[in-house]
Symmetry: C2
Subunit: 404 residues, 2 copies
C-alpha cells in the first residue's frame, strides 16, 4: 500500500479524468480554505453512502435523491465551516441554488451536481460568499489538485487525509485515490465524516454502487470514535473510466474491490488516528460469532463502551469490561466459551483469568499507539472488526467547552 505523501510526490494522487481544487471562500470563521470541488470531464459513475441519521442535512437530502435516480455525477462541491443542517426550508433552497449555480458555470444539469457541507449546525449558508467563490474554485481546479481539495474540506482535523494506489487490473494501470475528513471529537458541533474516492477504472454505476456499499461497510462504517453519527456523513466514489474503454471483467471487479478496500480502509483509519483527544487507535476484532449481525453488534458495543475506552486509555487489559460489554450487546454466546486476546496474548479463556504474567504482557502490548483486541465468542465463524480510539480526559475538555 502506498503511504500518504501529499507534498513531496511528483504525481500526488492524480486520477485520470478528474480535476480538483480548493479555495478560501470566507465561510470558516477562523479562515483557511473552505470550498472544494471535484470535476469530472463528463458524466461519470458515482456511488454514495449517506448518514443513517433521521435528522439529515439539506445537502444530504438532495445528493441522496439524485443518486437514487441515477448513480451518475459530473461535479462534487464541498464546503466546510457550515453544515447547512437543521436549517429547514431555507437550507434546501440554498443547497438547490448552489447546485444550479455550479451547473450553470460548468454547463451541465443541476442533477449531476453532488453537494456536501460540514461545520456549524443551525446557521444558514452564507450564500453571498458562495456566489462569489464558486466561479473561483471552478477556475482553480486542476489534475493535481487533490491536496488542495483535501485541505478545503478540513474542519478541526489536524492534517489533510489522502491515500492512493495504482495497480494493474485486467492488464491496465488503474489508480484509486481519495481524501476524507474527520468524524467525532470535534469542537464545536457534531462532527461530520466526508470521504471521496476517485478512480479511473471503467465500472458502471450500478456495479459501483454494490461494491461501494460493501467497501463502506468494512471501512467508513466500521470505525467508531464516540458512537455519535452526524447529520451530514457522506462517502462518495466516482469512476471516470478514463483508464480504459474496456469495462472491468468480473475478475477485474474483484481486484478493484480489494484496492478500494485498502484505500478506503487507510483513509477511514486516518480519521480515527486523527481523532481529537485520542492517544490510541485499536482494532476491536470479534470472531467466532454465530452470525454477521452478532459479530457487528458485539464489536460495536465494545468499541463504544466508555469503560472499555477509558481502560484502553489507561493501558489496562481489563478483560472484565470487555466480556461484560460483549454480554450486554445482544450477541448470542456461551460465556464459558469466550476468549479474550490483547495483541496475541490470551488473558481470559475457558472461563478463567490467565494470570498476572498474561496480564503484564497484555499491558505491554497496550503501551503501543496501535494494537488489536480480539474476542472469540466460540459460537460460530463470523467476524467483524471495528477500528476505534481511546476516551481521554482531553476528549471531554474539547467537547465540554462552551461554544462561543
Amino acid at each position: 500500500m502506498s503511504e500518504a505523501a501529499p507534498e513531496t510526490s511528483a504525481e500526488p494522487f492524480c486520477v485520470k479524468g478528474f480535476r480538483l481544487g480548493g479555495v478560501v471562500a470566507g465561510i470558516k470563521k477562523r479562515g483557511g480554505p473552505d470550498l472544494g470541488i471535484i470535476i469530472a470531464e463528463g458524466r461519470v459513475a458515482c456511488a454514495g453512502v449517506f448518514t443513517k441519521n433521521l435528522v439529515e442535512a439539506a445537502p444530504v437530502t438532495l445528493s441522496r435523491a439524485r443518486l437514487v435516480q441515477e448513480p451518475v455525477a459530473r461535479v462534487v462541491v464541498v464546503n466546510s465551516g457550515n453544515a447547512n443542517a437543521c436549517t429547514g426550508e431555507v437550507g434546501l433552497k440554498d443547497a438547490t441554488e448552489t447546485a444550479v449555480l455550479v451547473a450553470a458555470l460548468l454547463g451541465c444539469e443541476s442533477r449531476d451536481v453532488q453537494i456536501c457541507s460540514t461545520g456549524v449546525i443551525g446557521a444558514p449558508l452564507p450564500m453571498e460568499k458562495l456566489r462569489t467563490s464558486l466561479p473561483v474554485v471552478l477556475e482553480a481546479a486542476h489534475a493535481h489538485g487533490l491536496p488542495e481539495f483535501a485541505r478545503a474540506i478540513m474542519t478541526t482535523d489536524t492534517r489533510p487525509k489522502m491515500r492512493g494506489e495504482s495497480v494493474l487490473i485486467d492488464g491496465v494501470e488503474i489508480t484509486v485515490a481519495g481524501a476524507c475528513k474527520g468524524a467525532g471529537m470535534i469542537h464545536p458541533n457534531m462532527a461530520t465524516m466526508l470521504a471521496f474516492v476517485l478512480t479511473d477504472a471503467s465500472v458502471d454505476g450500478r456495479s459501483l454502487e454494490a461494491i461501494w456499499r460493501r467497501v463502506c461497510g468494512r471501512t467508513f462504517n466500521a470505525i467508531s470514535i464516540d458512537g455519535d453519527t452526524s447529520t451530514n456523513d457522506t462517502a462518495l466514489c466516482l469512476a471516470s473510466g478514463a483508464a480504459s474503454e474496456q469495462a472491468l471483467t468480473s475478475e477485474g471487479l474483484v481486484a478493484f474491490e480489494a484496492v478500494l478496500d485498502r484505500v478506503a480502509g487507510e483513509l477511514s483509519r486516518d480519521i480515527v488516528r486523527d481523532a481529537e483527544g485520542a492517544t490510541k487507535a485499536v482494532s476491536i476484532i470479534v470472531r467466532g460469532a454465530a452470525n454477521e449481525a452478532d459479530a457487528r453488534t458485539a464489536a460495536s458495543t465494545i468499541a463504544t463502551s466508555p469503560l472499555v475506552k477509558t481502560a484502553i486509555h489507561g493501558e489496562d487489559p481489563n478483560w472484565g469490561r470487555l466480556v461484560a460489554a460483549a454480554g450486554r450487546s445482544g450477541a448470542a454466546f456461551d460465556p464459558a466459551r469466550i476468549s479474550v486476546f490483547v495483541g496475541d496474548v490470551l488473558i481470559f479463556g475457558q472461563n478463567r483469568w490467565h494470570g498476572a504474567l498474561a496480564e503484564r504482557l497484555a499491558h505491554e502490548v497496550m503501551k503501543r499507539r496501535e494494537f488489536d483486541i480480539t474476542l472469540d465468542l466460540g459460537a460460530g465463524s463470523w467476524a467483524h472488526t471495528v477500528f476505534t480510539c481511546d476516551l481521554s480526559a482531553e476528549y471531554v475538555r474539547i467537547n465540554a467547552d462552551y461554544r462561543s
Copy 2:
C-alpha cells in the same frame, strides 16, 4: 417524600418483620464493612429484577433461578469487595455453599436464601472469611440495622444510600424503606447496581413481581451513567406483610405502587447523584413519541451520547447534539416537528433555532446541579424519562487508572 437522614432519625427506616446488619468480613482490600444481611421473620414475598447481561455472576444465576421457582425468600446475603463473576464452576460452588451455610445457621431451606455480590471480577470468593463472618453478621442483625446494611454493600460510593416513607394505605400504616449502591464510574472494575426495598405491606409474591417489574422500569432501569450494565445488577423487593393480616385491596395496590415508585425513584437518583466524576444530574425527558419503545430508545440514546454528556458538563445548550442523537436512535419522527427545551426554555422548534437570548437562558438553567432536558418529538403521546449525569474529565481519570 421523606428525606434520607440516616444518622439523626430516631426510627431510621425500620420496617416491621425485618432485621438487618452489616459487619467487617475482611473481603474488601481497603477494609470497612463488606458483609450485609436482611433477615425476614419468616418466608416472605420477594420479587427480583436482575441484569440482562448475558455474562452474569454466579449469585445472579442462583438467585434468579430460585425466584423463578417461587417468589419467596427468608434472607438476603450481600458481600462487597468481590463480585464472584467470571469465576466459572468454582463461583457457582462458592455461591451455593454460602446459601447452604446461611440456611443452616438460620434453620431455613437454602432455596430461601438470596445472594448478591459486588466488587472485583474474576477472583474467587474468599470462602474462609465468609465461613467465619456469616454467623457474626446473623448475630449482628437488628430491627434498626438498615444504615449498617447500607454501609456494608458500598463499593466506591461516597455515602450510603437510604430512603424510606410511611403512608396510610387501606387504613393501615405501611412503611417502605430501602438501600442501594452505585452503578457505573467505579474503579477498578465494572460497577454493580444493587438495590433492596423492604415493606411491611401484605402483598402476595406474584402481585409483588408484577408491580416491582414496572417500578424498576421507571426507576432502577431508567437511570444511565455510562451505558454499561454490570454482570451483577440486582434489585430485590421483599414484603413481610407484618403491617396487617389483610392483603392490600386493588386500590391499595395502586397506592402501594406509587410509594414504591417514590422510594425506588429517589434511591435510583441517589446513585446518579453519587456517580464518580459527575457534576450534574439531568432528567432526559422524551415526550410526543409514537410509541413506548421509541420514547425509551430516544431517551436512552440521548442519555448515553458522549457528545450530549460532555455538552451537559460544559453547560452548553447544544441542541444540535440532542437532535442528532434523537435522529440516530431509531425512533420515528419528523425532524421539522421536534422541539427542544432546557428547563422550560424552548431553544429549538418549528425547524429553527430560537436565538441567542433563548440559548443564554438555557445556559443559565444548565448551571444548576440538577435540571431537565426535554425533547418533544411531535409524533404521538408516549413519554419516557432517563435520569443521567454528565461526562467529566474526572470520570476518564478514575476509569483509566491501571488496576493495581
